[in-house]
């Protein structure tokens, strides 16, 4: 039977960060991802901006918030031409990226990190656990393989491994769950139509058409942005969910409706946009491999990030990652509602929010960490996932390295990051 020190479930931004951090710490690491590509929402769902990398600021220059893997990844992505920024949007700074470049960088990082074994097209299907997770069954196309592991990181987004292990989780009511984003790419758009100045007019045109009954209400909040590549525009539609049914992002029949509705609405919108100047020759070049779910399970941790922590810029002693993004509520599909912290200060995510309460060797990273619904609306962004993933991976490796597993404190995780991760981030800074 295969065995490893750390098994990371999910190869999105958090999972990749966890795997790289664990492996660089010396843990034999298995990274399991059900799609054929790493990157999660930043690739499969065509999310094309990385939020939460930079501190909120009043100063002229943007500063990277988390010094380890998040900084390394951002610098390397910019350096290879796969990202542009930081770009100011309203009161925040984001990095606009190409999903293709993101995918490639993930492959490079997984490939160059010796102790990582990457398993794409593989999904966690069952878990054996008592006080600890003992065995994880990983399946690919009908072949099931049990894997013994000392520690696990659930970076699955949906808290799948944790749920299979019987760990407790929170799930918001259907009306309040963050709505998902359907993102697609348009090609053949004339250069003049891609300009930033025209965006607002285009969005106004769409909203006006909805208002006049010429376009479906579901498209009212559609937003568009030039991708940075010639002739290409990325379009985002927030989806409400199946009409007349309860929204449940863990229910495959709900997800099915989201996917088919997303493609249908995209087609309707693309046809409408062709009437606009510069769009006559445009067409949909790519659908996402999947709809971008923003929120589902939140695993119950030893600690929890509370809404008040985010708004106050709380900095508990056992912080291992910084969250900088405002609370971005998408409970409605007409656009986000933002709540900025009182002081503009970042909040520190405690190690306890990355450890499942119910299982000693279960670490959690990404959008399913222990947080209130509103706090998750800040901590779920990719920039923060890169940091919580790194912290969870470092902690899992520390756990696996001890004969009896057990406790570690935040200071050890921070020290491990300095020792193991910062040299790579600094190298990336020098190469820029």
């Amino acid at each position: 039977m295969l065995s490893c020190d750390v098994l990371v479930a999910g190869g999105g931004s958090a999972g990749l960060a966890a795997a790289v951090a664990a492996a660089r710490s010396g843990a034999r690491t298995l990274l399991v991802e059900r799609q054929g590509v790493l990157g999660g929402m930043a690739t499969s769902a065509l999310v094309h901006s990385i939020c939460g990398l930079y501190l909120l600021r009043d100063t002229p220059e943007a500063t990277l918030a988390n010094p380890g893997f998040a900084s390394e990844f951002a610098r390397r992505l910019i350096h290879c031409g796969g990202a542009e920024g930081p770009v100011r949007m309203g009161r925040v700074d984001v990095l606009l990226h190409q999903p293709t470049a993101f995918a490639l960088l993930c492959d490079q990082l997984a490939g160059e990190t010796r102790e990582i074994e990457l398993r794409l097209h593989s999904e966690v299907t069952s878990v054996q656990a008592d006080a600890e997770v003992r065995l994880v069954e990983v399946s690919c196309r009908g072949r099931r393989e049990p894997i013994a592991t000392r520690a696990v990181v659930d970076a699955s987004g949906d808290g799948t491994l944790a749920a299979l292990a019987g760990a407790d989780f929170e799930l918001e009511s259907a009306e309040r769950l963050q709505r998902p984003a359907f993102i697609f790419a348009l090609q053949g758009v004339a250069p003049a139509a891609l300009a930033e100045a025209g965006r607002l007019k285009l969005m106004h045109r769409v909203a006006s058409a909805v208002r006049q009954g010429k376009l479906e209400t579901a498209l009212r909040g559609a937003s568009l942005r030039g991708s940075g590549r010639p002739g290409e525009m990325m379009v985002t539609i927030d989806l409400e969910g199946p009409p007349g049914r309860i929204y449940d992002p863990l229910d495959p029949s709900c997800l099915t409706v989201l996917e088919t509705e997303g493609r249908r609405l995209a087609t309707v919108l693309a046809a409408f946009l062709r009437q606009a100047n510069g769009f006559a020759a445009s067409s949909i070049s790519a659908f996402p491999a999947r709809v971008g779910v923003r929120e589902s399970r939140r695993i119950v941790g030893r600690q929890r990030i509370e809404t008040a922590d985010v708004l106050a810029g709380a900095q508990p002693e056992d912080g291992v990652a910084l969250g900088t993004w405002p609370i971005e509520l998408r409970e409605r599909t007409t656009g986000p509602r933002l709540r900025f912290p009182d002081s503009g200060r970042p909040y520190a995510i405690p190690l306890g929010a990355l450890r499942a309460r119910d299982l000693r060797n279960l670490f959690v990273a990404g959008r399913c960490i222990a947080a209130s619904h509103d706090a998750q609306a800040s901590a779920r962004v990719i920039g923060t996932c890169l940091a919580t993933g790194e912290a969870a991976g470092l902690a899992a490796a520390l756990f696996a390295a001890r004969p009896a597993g057990g406790e570690m404190d935040a200071a050890e995780v921070v020290a491990a990051r300095t020792r193991v991760m910062l040299p790579f981030a600094e190298r990336a800074a020098r190469a820029a």
Binding site: G90, M203, R205, A207, R211, R220, L338, R339, F340, D342
Partner: protein, 104 residues
Amino acid sequence: MRPSPAKSSCPERDRATLERELVELISGQLLDVAQGLEVDSSLPAAGLDSMAIMQLLVLIEERYGLWLPEADLVKENFADARALAALLAERLAGARNGERSNGR
């Protein structure tokens, strides 16, 4: 239930009411700024970007029955609540006087 803007012939009173209502609308539904949004706080600095402007247009329509035309989508009109209130006061007066608000 908020009172509707005073239907007075004095534009200044309408303006002040509009300013206050817009501040409440923006800070209640779009941008939660803890220090409190003032009537002359810079909206872009508070985070009002293209997406937020679109949402604001929808909220203005829901509240005042007014859909701002594309021609009104210039930076100056969205600089602060004061500027926006001035625009709305003008448009609302126009609507009252029977001018058709541009539905485009």
